[in-house]
């Protein structure tokens, strides 16, 4: 784990209010892996104290990509950073998705839950896994990463208003699939719940929660386990095996 100022090398608006940031630094956090996240400082940190957790969407030795929606004061401030300026990040934090080493995988993501799936698809394909992705958005203008994911396998896109791909919810579309060995899902609890309950195959879910420290020290982000006890999403997760957490 490092705390470092990374340079914003490239900035793209990949959907309405959704930004793809390519970050560069001599100290790109080592051990970036799909499902792990960066804890990102918004603004100068004087009025906004809490870092924002953002998943890593791609990474190599020199660069690291995050994709996020500017949806509140903090993510808007991050979105306003200019190319060439630096962003203070702490990470990578959390535990990532365990990677299959053979068989097939179904990837399910909703909205800003899609970015980690891009990194995941890349790594799974490297491992020789066949990947299908089902990703959902509100509307056509919100769709992103669909083309990138197509590099790695079949992609089905749903939109709530039907302006792109299949009309409907991503969960419904995902549950139509059964030909896979493992599923991987990332999104809000309401999306993860039906997947965890209805998919018979093994799988992993990646959760969101409001965070303080990001490292397991403040107990802001706990989630009950099904068998009693609790987990901390930031450090025990954000990825959990199907059936472990109560959604």
């Amino acid at each position: 784990m490092i705390k470092e100022k990374l340079k914003l090398a490239k900035k793209e608006e990949v959907a309405a209010n959704v930004y793809k940031f390519t970050l560069e630094g001599s100290h790109i956090p080592p051990r970036c892996s799909p499902g792990r996240f960066l804890h990102v400082q918004a603004g100068d940190g004087r009025a906004m104290l809490l870092r924002r957790p953002i998943s890593i969407s791609a990474a190599d030795d020199q660069t690291c990509v995050i994709i996020f929606r500017a949806s509140g004061a903090g993510t808007e401030a991050i979105a306003s950073v200019r190319v060439g300026d630096t962003i203070d990040v702490f990470g990578p934090l959390g535990s990532g998705f365990p990677l299959l080493d053979d068989g097939t995988a179904l990837l399910v993501g909703g909205g800003v839950g899609v970015p980690p799936l891009h990194f995941l698809a890349e790594e799974l394909v490297k491992n020789g896994i066949r990947v299908k992705s089902v990703i959902g958005f509100r509307s056509a203008e919100d769709v992103f990463l669909a083309d990138e994911l197509r590099q790695y396998g079949e992609v089905e896109v749903t939109t709530e208003d039907g302006t792109y791909g299949t009309k409907g919810y991503v969960t419904d579309a995902a549950l139509m699939n059964s030909e896979f060995d493992t599923f991987y899902a990332c999104g809000p609890k309401a999306m993860l719940h039906p997947l965890q309950e209805n998919i018979e195959a093994p799988g992993y879910v990646s959760l969101e929660e409001r965070m303080g420290c990001g490292i397991g020290a403040c107990f802001a982000c706990v989630c009950d386990k099904k068998d009693g006890g609790y987990v901390k999403i930031c450090s025990d997760g954000p990825v959990f095996e199907k059936g472990v957490v109560q959604l």
Partner: protein, 310 residues
């Protein structure tokens, strides 16, 4: 760095800087980031006699230059803490300030007895000011009588010195301070969080599941400074100051106000390396101004005979 050495009841510290209770758990996570032995001490998470699950999520919300938390004193219980969680601080050789919480005087005494018996623990920090649990805790912090009672009871069962952590949610904090002083406290920690609330503007509903939470961070620093300024002139107890510390200048201000040591809470979330960084900067600050010992700063906001510094 001998100019930083600070000795308070039960706490023999290399320097006057420690992480604040609840923002450092028991040190395991930070031990992965830096060598804990650089810290003056560690105020660890509140212990209650029984394990507590805490409040539903969301438990934190951001506010301007501050944050709200309503963790609800989640902890594995005093016994488990003593047996399983003090090892990181123990190995680092730093004294533990063991935060104690409860909902009744018996509760406090039970947790206090367990924690005071731990070898790693240098002193207890009696949390009579947690705004985030339904019953107990904070009402002790707003009533000089009750505050004295729980202090007296805990002092009786504890072989270690007892610091009382004061609540800012009161109209007369000096009255509470003098009352717990008489009841046997060896020191004060101040301030705990101010009660606050954030609403979701669209829905109009509280963001925190617990509705209210405790406000911390730089927003509360002016409140903390004036309370320490006032209390330090009214009692002889040493004060561990906290509330919004995030720079070396903040530390100087807390000492000047009347604190003898400081704790850093919320700022650990923004910068997990902040405690060691501030300790280094504090030494430099003093060196640059040729101040031979950090304790010379304590109370210089009001001491008439304060050493001229510049």
């Amino acid at each position: 760095m001998s100019r930083l050495k600070t000795k308070l009841p039960g706490l023999d510290m290399k320097n006057p800087v420690m992480p604040a209770s609840g923002c450092f758990a028991f040190g395991a996570e930070f031990a992965d980031l830096y060598d804990l032995s650089v810290l003056g001490a560690a105020a660890v998470k509140a212990a209650t006699p029984e394990p507590r699950r805490g409040n539903p999520v969301p438990r934190v919300a951001e506010t301007d230059s501050g944050m709200l938390n309503a963790i609800g004193l989640q902890n594995p219980g005093a016994k488990a803490i003593r047996e399983e969680h003090l090892g990181h601080c123990g190995k680092a050789g730093i004294p533990v300030l063991a935060n104690i919480a409860g909902t009744s005087i018996d509760d406090y005494c039970e947790a206090a007895a367990v924690m005071a018996a731990a070898q790693e623990v240098g002193a207890l920090e009696l949390n009579i000011s947690c705004p985030n649990v339904k019953e107990g805790g904070i009402q002790f912090g707003n009533d000089p009588q009750l505050a004295a009672e729980v202090t007296r009871a805990v002092c009786e069962v504890s072989a270690k010195p007892v610091y009382v952590k004061l609540s800012p949610n009161t109209g007369d904090i000096a009255a509470i301070a003098t009352s717990v002083e008489k009841a046997g406290a060896s020191g004060l920690s101040m301030i705990n969080t101010l009660i606050g609330m954030r609403l979701d503007t669209e829905t109009g509903r509280p963001v925190l599941a617990n509705k209210t939470g405790g406000l911390s961070g730089p927003a509360v620093k002016p409140v903390a400074i004036r309370m320490i300024y006032e209390v330090s002139q009214r009692t002889d107890l040493p004060i561990i100051g906290m509330g919004g510390i995030s720079s070396v200048e903040d530390i100087i201000d807390f000492l000047s106000a009347g604190a003898s040591a400081v704790a850093v809470g919320t700022a650990n979330f923004q910068n997990p390396f902040i405690c060691p960084e501030l300790i280094g900067e504090l030494d430099e600050w003093l060196e640059k101004r040729q101040i031979s010992h950090v304790s010379e700063l304590t109370g210089r906001s009001w001491k008439s005979c304060s050493v001229p510094l510049s």
